[in-house]
């Protein structure tokens, strides 16, 4: 029994990092007031670049390049949304579509349509230690990152300004701080995290870039962000909850297939999305709602 619990938690910790990092990236961007539905595309860029880079250099360096790829896309998103006041949802979706096609194209031109050759996976530490052992450094980073981001957003001057840029950008401007620069930094750092989430798919979950990656995990991360009420700790908990729910569903249905006669598999698979919808529908005014200026380009003429 204890062994099964161990396996359940271990599987959760192995699957969660991709979702946690991506959800944190989305939080960072949206707390500054820029909608980010391009997480999926940024993850795909991160996964692809990390795997391709790891073919010719040490894998950790590949991960860094993957993060930068995610950041580059996010910078493009920020530039379109801030400089040109483009529709933030449209820009994000465009990034998803372009990356879907570009990833496939580069893969076919350079490798095979199925994926890149296999690479050296990130090292796994402490195998044999229950639950926490046998994972890559990314798992531990995913455990620490939510707290670090929480501290930055809640406890630093930068964090205060960032939140203000998402709630009432005019107040930030009145203080003599550039809203555009704040938002640009936040969105780009968000892309860095989304790229890291993608990279963890191709260097820790699998040992190559596979042509379907990330297969909807980016949208799942956005759902986790909403579920976590736009807070780092909440979003990370929601992401971990989704990964845990998956592991639990798998473990339960393989041990006791009778469960599926009561609840169809499709319902279980749709559960995270259903929960997010329910939460959105029941959202009250006041604490824990979306940032007030989310999705509106900053206009200095407005009061």
């Amino acid at each position: 029994m204890l062994q099964l619990v161990d396996a359940l938690l271990s599987s959760t910790l192995d699957a969660a990092p991709a979702l946690v990092f991506a959800a944190l990236g989305a939080v960072l961007s949206e707390r500054a007031g820029v909608v980010n539905v391009g997480v999926e595309g940024m993850m795909r860029a991160g996964a692809f670049v990390a795997a391709v880079a790891a073919l010719v250099m040490p894998t950790p360096l590949g991960v860094v390049l993957g993060m930068l790829a995610g950041a580059a896309l996010a910078a493009l998103h920020a530039w379109l949304c801030i400089r040109f006041r483009a529709d933030q949802v449209v820009s994000g979706m465009a990034i998803n579509l372009v990356m879907l096609a570009l990833g496939t194209f580069l893969l076919e031109a350079r490798f095979s349509p199925n994926g890149t050759p296999s690479i050296e996976q990130l090292t796994r530490w402490g195998s044999g230690v229950p639950v926490l052992g046998g994972h890559t450094a990314l798992t531990w980073l995913a455990l620490a990152a939510p707290f670090a981001l929480h501290a930055v957003i809640q406890r630093t001057r930068f964090g205060l300004r960032l939140r203000a840029a998402g709630e009432k950008p005019q107040a930030v401007a009145a203080m003599g701080v550039s809203v555009s620069r704040l938002r640009f930094v936040a969105v780009t750092c968000g892309g860095l995290l989304a790229g890291l989430g993608g990279a963890s798919l191709s260097v820790a979950t699998l040992d190559r870039f596979e042509h379907n990656m990330p297969a909807g995990l980016g949208f799942m991360a956005v759902a986790a962000m909403v579920f976590g009420r736009w807070t780092p700790l909440g979003a990370a908990a929601a992401a971990a909850f989704f990964a845990f729910g998956n592991a639990l569903r798998i473990g339960l249905t393989s041990s006791a297939p009778q469960v599926l006669e009561v609840i169809p598999q499709g319902v279980l698979l749709a559960l995270p999305y259903l929960l997010t919808l329910l939460l959105l529908a029941g959202q009250k005014r006041g604490a824990g709602k979306a940032p007030a200026a989310l999705g509106t380009p900053y206009d200095p003429e407005l009061r």
Partner: protein, 385 residues
């Protein structure tokens, strides 16, 4: 404006099709030495180099039938060594060179299927092959538009509006009896594992249930006491979901796992690979093509679908003048499904292979019927070994 744009796009797509025509087609003024038969082939979006379905179909046509290979967009005669290496030992006597000329178009998007098929028919192909069930609609439309042309559709029957199989007078369709191949890998797993084996499917659809039914029947035959864990990931594109299923199975002590789950299956294999690296004695079984390259130290064998053979047979029948438009299926008897060579040195391998071969003979001789769905599996009584 929109109409003009649509016209432009059509012209562009036709133009690009022509460009991607790879070295086929007789040059004007060139006299054919003997009557060569042109065989066209349209890949699905996976295309050349997918190391799976499309590559297998191309191998059947270009290498086996025409004895040629593609170098820089032109066909050159293949070296004898390459040709011999590509033909599995059990097919060596069946495959001989045919006087056919391949003409291949790759599809970059779903919208390419029908124009590509039409282009090949217009270029005078005597037979046009559509690779994969995704081309079902396109082949149906092309076959109705060109009643004199002949077609081969791989891996799906032609379906009518209600989704029921129908026959067209100029289309041969070829599906596979995957349950028979799955039965043999199930039997092998049962022989090599002690207590637990596992099956991971992708989406819960009848095609994948065929794999499950065959696999479980195989395990039941050789190791009735073994427990079979079954899980469906619900998708074919989520590596991470597949890996979680694999991890679950490994934690529950599954020794050998068979996956028919597309990309999710790669995640399953990865989980097995990591469990093996952590010191567990576990194996995975691949699917569709020989997947040993994915993870050489954990892939015990693969349940292979011989798409190459289906294409080759159609070309051969065409050359011999006995091409019949009919709905056919390929199983163990026709060598249409098989298990890939077992490369790992597993204890008890020779004895296990001998037993699996005996079972194969029973099925080939028609003495054993493998269940193709879970209903039949209930009623299945294993043969005495």
């Amino acid at each position: 404006m929109t109409r003009a744009l649509a016209l432009c796009l059509t012209l562009v797509s036709v133009g690009s099709c022509k460009k991607s025509d790879e070295g086929g087609g007789a040059k004007p003024g060139e006299k054919p030495a003997e009557k060569t038969i042109q065989v066209g082939l349209v890949t699905d979006v996976g295309g050349r180099g997918d190391e799976s379905f499309n590559d297998a179909a191309l191998r059947g046509l270009e290498l086996w039938a025409a004895g040629s290979k593609l170098v820089d967009g032109k066909y050159v005669p293949a070296e004898k060594r390459d040709l011999e290496a590509s033909i599995p030992a059990d097919l060596a006597s069946m495959v001989t060179r045919l006087p056919v000329k391949p003409m291949v178009l790759q599809s970059k998007a779903q919208e390419d299927y029908q124009p590509n098929l039409q282009l090949l028919v217009d270029k005078g192909c005597d037979l046009t092959v559509g690779v994969g069930f995704m081309l079902e609609n396109a082949v149906e439309a092309a076959a109705k538009e060109y009643p004199k042309a002949r077609f081969l559709l791989i891996d799906s029957p032609i379906l009518d509006a209600n989704g029921n199989p129908q026959s067209l007078p100029n289309v041969r369709t070829m599906v596979f009896r995957e349950h028979e191949g799955s039965f043999l890998v199930g039997a092998l797993a049962g022989l090599l594992a002690k207590e637990k084996v596992g099956f991971v499917g992708g989406m819960e659809i009848p095609l994948i249930k065929k794999f499950e039914a065959g696999f479980r029947a195989g395990v039941k035959t050789t190791n009735p006491k073994a427990e079979v864990l079954v899980s469906y990931t619900g998708s074919f594109d989520k590596v991470a979901a597949g890996k979680q299923v694999g991890q679950d199975f490994m934690a529950k002590g599954v020794e050998i796992v068979f996956q028919a789950a597309g990309s999710d299956g790669l995640g399953v294999i990865q989980a097995v690979k990591e469990a093996r690296a952590a010191g567990k004695n576990v194996y995975a079984i691949g699917v569709d093509s020989d997947q040993y390259r994915v993870a050489p130290d954990v892939i015990l064998t693969s349940m292979v679908k011989r798409v190459d053979l289906a294409v080759y047979f159609a070309a051969k029948d065409l050359v011999n003048g006995n091409f019949i438009a009919a709905d056919g299926d390929l199983g163990l008897k026709e060598n249409g499904v098989a298990y890939a060579p077992i490369r790992l040195a597993v204890p008890g391998k020779d004895a296990a292979v001998a037993k699996v071969e005996a079972l194969r003979k029973l099925i080939v001789d028609g003495k054993l019927r493998v269940p193709a769905n879970l209903g039949d599996l209930e009623a299945f009584t294993p043969p005495a070994l």
